[in-house]
C-alpha cells in the first residue's frame, strides 16, 4: 500500500507536469501489457503498479476493463481483447486498436484474472486517477478510500486540494481525513483533542476504530479521555440509528408480508375461499417478471413497469380460470375449497417445474433498485426495500380505493355479506365472484413481482409465503383490509425487534405463539368483522 501511495505521489507529480517523453512510456506500456498476459495472480500487482506509473492515457480504461472482468487475451498471439456482453451476445474487441473482431471459441482465449487483492488495488488506483475527476462523488470516494492510510505528504496534498474544492460532500470527506490524520499524529495534545472533537460528530467506522485505538493506546491521558467522551457521543448516536435501522427492517419485512398477504385478504378474507393456491399466484407473478425480462433483454430498467400489469393479468386470468372451473362449485363450503385449491397448488407447482425447469430463474434488478440511500455512515436504507415498502403501500391504497369507491368494490362487499340478497338485487354474483377472485389473484401476482426482487424465483416460492400470509390475514381479522395492513407491519416489526434478542428462529416461534395466544383473546383477529355476515 505504501508503494501505491508513493506512486500516487509520483502520479500527482506527473499530472502537474505532463511533459514526459511520450515514446518511452508507450513502449514500456506495451511491454507491460505483454507481461500482464503472462503473469500469474501474485505477479500481477507489481505489473499493474508499473502500468499506473507510466501515466499512459489508456490506463484508466485498461483498469476499468480489468476490474469489470472483461479483459482477455488471444492465446495465439497474446493480443489483449475486451469481451463485453451486450444483450446476451459477446462482442470481441482488440483492446488497443479498438477494432471489433469475430467471436472466438472459449478454448482460444484466456482471461486476465483478477482476485480480491487486485480488485482492491484497481479500485483504489481508479480512485486516485479520479481524485481530480470532475465528478464530486468520485472525488469524495477517492478521499474516503485514503482515510486510514494518510501520511504527511498526502495529508498536505489533501489540504491543498481542500482550498480548491467547493463541493460540500467532498469538503466534509477531506475534513474527516485531515481530522483523523491529526488525531493520530498531530504534534500537540491540543490539536489532537480538537481533532478528536471534530471526529465525535462523525459516524464513519474508520473514525470510530481510530478513537477506540486512541482510547486504549494513546500516551496522553487527556487524549484518552477525549477519545472516551467522543466515543460515548458516537455510541449514543449509533444506538439510536440502530433502532431506526431495526424499525426500517421491520417495516420492510412488514411490507413483504403485506404484499404476500394482501391478495389473500381478498380471496380468503372477502370471499371466504381458503386459497391454498395463493402462494402459487405469487409464484406466477414472479415468473411473469422473469418472462417479461426475457422478452425485453435490453430494457431491464423498464421491465418491472411492464411486469406489474403483466403479472396482474396473468395471475388474474389464472385466478378467474380457477374460480370458474373449481371454486364456484364450492360456494359455502370453505373448508373444501382448501382441499381443491391445495390440489391446484400442486398442479401449478409441477406445471412451472415442467415448463421452466425446477431450477431457480434469474430475475435482474433494475439499476434504480440497487444500492442504498445513505443517510449517514451507519444508517443506509436499501433502495429495493424502500421501493418495495412504498410499492406495498401504493398497492394497498389502490386496493382500498377499488373496494370502497368503485362499483366492483360495492358489488364485492354486497355479495360477500349476503349472496342471495345481492342476487335478488340483480347483481350478477357469478361474475362478481370471478372478478373478485381474479382481483385477489392479480394482486398476489403483483406481490410476486416484488418478491422476485428479494428472493428465489423458483417453484417453491409460493410455499415459502403461504403460511405467513394466512397468519397475517387471520391476525388482522378476516375480511378487513386495514387489519391486514396493521397485522403485516406489527408482525414485521415485532419479528425484527425480537431477532437481535432471541435469534431468528426463536423470534419466528415467539411470533407464532403470540398469534396463537392472541387469537384466544380475540377469536376474530385484530379487527373483527361485525354483524351476522361474520358468523
Amino acid at each position: 500500500m505504501k508503494q501505491a501511495l508513493l506512486m500516487f505521489g509520483c502520479w500527482l507529480a506527473l499530472w502537474s507536469t505532463p511533459t514526459v517523453a511520450e515514446t518511452d512510456t508507450t513502449s514500456s506500456y506495451d511491454d507491460l501489457l505483454m507481461a500482464l498476459t503472462e503473469a500469474d495472480l501474485n505477479a500481477t500487482q507489481p505489473i499493474l503498479e508499473k502500468i499506473e506509473a507510466t501515466g499512459h492515457p489508456e490506463v484508466l480504461s485498461l483498469f476499468q476493463t480489468l476490474l469489470d472482468g472483461n479483459l482477455h487475451f488471444r492465446k495465439a498471439d497474446q493480443v489483449l481483447l475486451s469481451i463485453v456482453d451486450v444483450n446476451g451476445t459477446d462482442q470481441y474487441t482488440e483492446f488497443q486498436s479498438g477494432t471489433a473482431i469475430e467471436p472466438l471459441g472459449r478454448r482460444d482465449v484466456s482471461k486476465i484474472r483478477v482476485n480480491n487483492n487486485l480488485r482492491n488495488f484497481l479500485s483504489s488506483a481508479i480512485g486516485r486517477l479520479q481524485l481530480r475527476s470532475s465528478e464530486p462523488d468520485l472525488r469524495s470516494a477517492a478521499v474516503l478510500s485514503l482515510l486510514t492510510t494518510l501520511d504527511a505528504a498526502t495529508a498536505d496534498d489533501l489540504a491543498e486540494l481542500r482550498r480548491e474544492e467547493s463541493n460540500r460532500t467532498v469538503l466534509s470527506s477531506i475534513d474527516l481525513a485531515l481530522a483523523m490524520y491529526s488525531a493520530r499524529s498531530a504534534n500537540t495534545v491540543a490539536a489532537q483533542i480538537t481533532a478528536i472533537d471534530t471526529l465525535s460528530d462523525r459516524l464513519q467506522p474508520e473514525a470510530r476504530n481510530l478513537l477506540f485505538d486512541l482510547e486504549r493506546n494513546a500516551d496522553n491521558p487527556a487524549v484518552r479521555e477525549a477519545a472516551t467522551a467522543a466515543l460515548k457521543k458516537i455510541d449514543g448516536k449509533v444506538t439510536f440509528y440502530g433502532y431506526v435501522d431495526q424499525l426500517f427492517f421491520g417495516l420492510s419485512l412488514g411490507s413483504v408480508l403485506l404484499l404476500a398477504a394482501i391478495g389473500l385478504a381478498i380471496t380468503f378474507g372477502v370471499m371466504g375461499v381458503i386459497n391454498m393456491a395463493h402462494g402459487e399466484m405469487l409464484m406466477l407473478g414472479a415468473y411473469t417478471t422473469y418472462v417479461v425480462q426475457l422478452l425485453m433483454p435490453g430494457f431491464i430498467n423498464y421491465s418491472l413497469w411492464v411486469a406489474i400489469p403483466a403479472a396482474f393479468i396473468v395471475a388474474g386470468l389464472f385466478g378467474i380460470l380457477i374460480e370458474r372451473c373449481v371454486i364456484r362449485f364450492l360456494h359455502g363450503r370453505p373448508l373444501e375449497t382448501l382441499l381443491a385449491t391445495f390440489g391446484i397448488s400442486l398442479i401449478l407447482q409441477q406445471l412451472v417445474r415442467t415448463v421452466f425447469s425446477p431450477l431457480n430463474r434469474r430475475v435482474a434488478a433494475p439499476d434504480w433498485m440497487s444500492g442504498s440511500l445513505e443517510i449517514n455512515p451507519v444508517l443506509s436504507l436499501t433502495y429495493n426495500r424502500l421501493t418495495i415498502l412504498i410499492f406495498a403501500l401504493i398497492v394497498f391504497v389502490a386496493l382500498l380505493v377499488i373496494m370502497k369507491k368503485t362499483a366492483l368494490g360495492l358489488y364485492v362487499r354486497a355479495v360477500s355479506q349476503n349472496r342471495d340478497m345481492a342476487k335478488a338485487m340483480g347483481i350478477k354474483t357469478d361474475r362478481v365472484d370471478a372478478l373478485t377472485f381474479g382481483l385477489g389473484s392479480g394482486i398476489a401476482g403483483i406481490g410476486g413481482v416484488a418478491l422476485s426482487q428479494l428472493t428465489n424465483v423458483g417453484p417453491n416460492l409460493g410455499q415459502a409465503y403461504i403460511i405467513d400470509s394466512f397468519m397475517v390475514v387471520v391476525f388482522g381479522g378476516v375480511g378487513n383490509l386495514l387489519g391486514t395492513l396493521v397485522a403485516a407491519f406489527t408482525l414485521g416489526i415485532a419479528n425484527k425487534f425480537l431477532e437481535p434478542v432471541t435469534g431468528t428462529v426463536l423470534a419466528s416461534i415467539l411470533v407464532l405463539v403470540f398469534i396463537i395466544l392472541f387469537i384466544q383473546k380475540r377469536p376474530k383477529g385484530l379487527f373483527p368483522q361485525r354483524g351476522r355476515a361474520a358468523e
Binding site: L339, A340, G343, F470, G525
Partner: protein, 385 residues
Amino acid sequence: MSLLTTFMSRRNSLGSPVLPFVTILMTLTVLAAIGNLWIPADSALHVSTYTITLLGKYLSFAMLALAVDIVWGYCGILSLGHGAFFALGGYAMGMYLMRQIGSRGVYGDPILPDFMVFLDWDVLPWYWLGMDQFWFAMLMVLLVPGLLAFVFGWLAFHSRVTGVYLSIITQALTYALMLAFFRNEMGFGGNNGLTDFKDLLGFSLQADTTRVALLLCTAGLLAAIFMFSHWVLKSRFGKVIEAIRDGEPRVRFLGYRTDRYKVALFVYSAMIAGIAGALYVPQVGIINPGEFAPLNSIEIVVWVAVGGRGTLYGAVIGALLVNYAKTRFTALMPDGWLFMLGALFVLVTLFLPKGLAGVYGQLITSWKRGRNRDEPPQRNQEATS
C-alpha cells in the same frame, strides 16, 4: 363386541361397518404376514419385506387419518396441525429407540445418542431421562400429544375459536413446533432427527419377523382403535359431538359444556395420532422435524376428504388409497405424479363431496330405496364451520 352389535342392530339401519372392516383388515395383514414369513421367496404368493414395511406405513397413516376424521368428520374441528401430534408420538418412540442403541452408536457412547456426542453435549438433557424404559416411552407417546392437545384445546375451545381461525392456529402450532425441532439446541437431533435405530424391546428392527410383528401390531391397534372410536361415537357422547358439529350453540342451550366435549375429543384424537406416530417411526426408521411441516398436515386432511369424512372406514380407505397412489405414481411417472395427485384432490372435492365413502353410502341408500320406498333419501349434510 356383543355390546357393539346389539347397539348396531337397534340403531344403525345401514348395518355396522365394524365387523367387515376389522375382519378384512386382520385377514389381509395376517395373510401378508404368512406370505412374508412362510411362503418361499420364489413363490408368486410371496409378500416381500418391501410390501410389509409399505403396508405398515400405510396403516400408521390410516390411523392418523382416523384421528383427523374423528375431530373433523364428527365434530367439525378442522385441524391443520395433526401432524404435530403424530410427530410428537413419533419422537417419543424415536427417543426410546435411540436409547436402545446404547453403545452401538458410531461414537460408542453408552448413554448419549450420536448427535449429542457430535455436538459436544456432556449429559443427557432431563427430558431424555426415563426414555430408555419402554413403558415410560409409551406413556409419553400418549401423554405428550395428549397434554399439548389439552392445553391448546382448552385455550382455543374455551375462547370459542372456531372455523378457519382454529384451522389456521393449529397450522401455526405445528409450524412453530417444526421451527423449534429444527433447532439443534432443542436436543432432538435438529434437521437429521432421530435415526439409525437398532432394536425394539430387544428385537432387531431389520429382522423380517420384527417387521411383520410391527405390521400386525399396527393392524391390531388400528382395529382396536377403530372399534373403540366406533363405540365412543355411537354413544350419547358421540351424538353430542355430532350435534356440536351441526349446531354448537344449540348444544350449549341443552346444558352440555361443549368446550369440554371438544377438548376431550381433541385430546383423544391427538393421542391416536401419537400412537400412529409411534408405530410409524420404527417401521420407516427415521423421525425428523419435516413431519411437523404444515403441508403434511394438510395432506392428512386430504386423505380423509378423499375417503369420506364422517365415516371411520372412509378415513382409513382414503389414507390407504392416496398413499398407495403416491407410491405407484412416484415410481411410474416421477416427473408427473404431482399432476395426478393434484387433479385427484380437485376432482374428489368437486364430484365426490362426501368422498368415496359417500359414493358407497349413496349406492347402499339407493339399493335400499329400491327395496323400501318409504325410506327417505339421505341428505347431503354440510359439516363445515
